[in-house]
């Protein structure tokens, strides 16, 4: 994995692959899913993210909408990476991802394909594209935990 970090061609290929063939790119009508609409007010991205969370575990993540390469690919990668993880594990991965985007130290091992975005900060206005889907799952996890506490 650490070799990948140094090969822009591989990283670009990962982003293009997830943009052209986004994973989990269909919303579910199943009542077990919670949904977030993420529409950035400063860019064009306008996506819906769904998560099925039960007993503190993310069973499934889906998304759809109008979005750029960076937000489509980063959300697609996120949807694969966090599927089957517990909320606690997912939060650790999120923390590492945000650290990477902010240019801080991070655990590349944990982020897998998401390391492709490690230089997105070079285009500062695109940071929100690279995090829009991640913010959505964070909010969905918050809501799930809150609902659980209230039960």
């Amino acid at each position: 994995m650490s070799d990948m970090l140094h090969d822009p061609m591989v990283l670009r290929q990962i982003i293009m692959d997830h943009y052209e063939y986004p994973r989990n790119h269909e919303l579910s009508k199943d009542a077990g899913y919670c949904q977030k609409h993420m529409a950035s007010d400063s860019c064009i991205d306008d996506i819906y993210v769904q998560a099925k969370i039960a007993n503190g575990v993310i069973d499934d993540i889906r998304f759809d909408g109008v979005a750029c390469t960076i937000s489509t690919a980063s959300t697609s990668i996120m949807s694969e990476l966090l599927q089957g993880k517990s909320i606690a594990e997912a939060r650790q991965i999120l923390e590492q991802y945000y650290a990477m985007i902010d240019g801080k130290n991070y655990d590349a091992q944990m982020l897998e394909e998401a390391v492709a975005f490690h230089n997105v900060g070079r285009q500062a206005n695109r940071i929100k594209c690279a995090t829009i889907g991640w913010k959505a799952i964070e909010e969905l996890m918050d809501e799930s935990e809150k609902a659980h506490e209230q039960e």
């Binding site: 982003i15 293009m16 070079r122």
Partner: protein, 410 residues
């Protein structure tokens, strides 16, 4: 022909600025424009030399501010061929258009009345009317555009009847840059007794505009798109309508006198619309901007922009990796996409090459129906852009592919 290299020396923003390590090429002039030194000096002149309130004091400095402030109104009036009593200072075109909808539309419109507009309008031209129609029970309808996305006098006339009270349209649209036949439209509208509100945000900075000749009832523009300061703009209105309509704000500066019984006597137009301390430095800066534009000549500016536009578009049309949506635009606005690349990814590629363009989602219906896309890149020219800049832009255009657009992230 204007001397663009001489002109560029007047603009500090055109002197050696860089973006992403590359020389800055600014092609977002439909959003806002750079300021010549004379405008910057006019703004600082206020704060440095005459920093007191207008219309308030009995002392010499205040009188001097009043004089300069009112002479700016005369400059704007001459620029538009209007009377100075018909020039209302606002924070910009958006506020001016809202003022007409609120102060004129709300007073005039009744259920069953119709407001006519088009699908190519800027939000500032259409949203105030949506709200006003909702409040008054009037109906907002849209004039169909032709295949190219243009508003034609024929299509307009087909929509006209005696229920239409207001026609709200941009003289030059901000997405496609088409010019509407404004004189014909005013003539037709007036035959039916309707009033015409012209959004001049994209026309006034780029071509000679004569409100008497076009015979519009209201016209709005922003100074910052005309080399002037931000936060200042103008509403032109025929005096009798300004006199009849309500102000948007009440307060100091707009009233002549009032009493505790609730009687308010407002000042005459334009002062009844100018409550509170205005952006005095911006008004003086706007005057300097108009003087600067006049010193170059609006006819020359228009001709130069058209020529540069033609030069760029002809070359873009030959590139297989691009789609140009408005090759026959009447302005310096070029709306395009890189094939198979989302607009924002394309705009970032230009940014990485030091070129400022804008990506955006526009009126969804217009774009989906006429252009078949939800988002586009917009490059917009002004008279200080050069052929050399155009060549660099074209070179970057020719290199725009999905792979290259993504490489900027590595």
């Amino acid at each position: 022909m204007l001397d663009v290299h001489k002109i560029r020396k007047d603009f500090p923003m055109l002197e050696g600025h860089r973006m992403q390590g590359m020389p800055l090429i600014y092609l977002d002039n439909a959003a806002t424009t750079f300021k010549p030194q004379s405008v910057i000096d006019a703004v600082t002149h206020y704060y440095t030399d005459i920093s007191v309130n207008a219309h308030r004091g009995d002392y010499e400095l205040s009188y001097q501010v009043d004089t300069e402030y009112e002479s700016a109104r005369e400059t704007v009036a001459r620029f538009l061929h209007a009377d100075k009593r018909e020039i209302v200072f606002t924070s910009g075109a958006s506020e001016a258009l809202n003022l007409v909808a609120y102060g004129f539309g709300r007073k005039l419109l009744k259920p069953g009345d119709v407001v006519l507009s088009s699908e190519a309008e800027h939000a500032s031209s259409i949203l105030p009317w949506m709200k006003t129609c909702e409040e008054t029970g009037a109906e907002l309808t849209y004039i169909p555009l032709d295949e190219e996305g243009r508003l034609t006098a024929d299509n307009f006339e087909r929509c006209m009847d005696h229920h239409v009270k207001i026609v709200a349209l941009a003289q030059v649209t901000n997405v496609l840059g088409y010019e509407m036949p404004v004189k014909e439209i005013c003539e037709i509208a007036h035959r039916y007794g309707a009033k015409v509100i012209v959004d001049g945000a994209q026309s006034v900075p780029h071509m000679p505009v004569d409100v008497l000749e076009m015979d519009c009832d209201f016209l709005a523009f922003s100074a910052h798109k005309l080399c002037g300061p931000t936060g200042i703009g103008v509403l032109y209105g025929k005096y009798e309508y300004l006199d009849w309509m309500d102000p948007f704000l009440l307060g100091g500066g707009s009233n002549a006198r009032f009493d505790m019984c609730g009687n308010i006597m407002l000042k005459q137009p334009p002062y009844k619309f100018e409550s509170g301390t205005p952006a005095i430095e911006a008004v003086l800066g706007m005057k300097a901007a108009i003087q600067y534009i006049d010193s170059i000549g609006m006819e020359e500016i228009h001709a130069y922009e058209r020529e540069l536009h033609r030069y760029v578009v002809e070359r873009m049309m030959k590139m297989d990796n691009l789609v140009v949506y408005n090759p026959y635009s009447d302005s310096g606005i070029i709306t395009f996409n890189v094939k198979d690349v989302f607009a924002q990814d394309g705009a970032s590629f230009f940014n990485a090459n030091g070129i400022a363009v804008r990506s955006g989602q526009h009126c969804a219906k217009l774009l989906m129906d006429k252009l078949g896309t939800s988002a586009t890149i917009r490059a917009s020219l002004y008279f200080y852009n050069t052929k050399e800049e155009a060549d660099i832009f074209l070179d970057v255009c020719s290199k725009a592919t999905l792979e290259n657009c993504l490489d900027i992230f590595f």
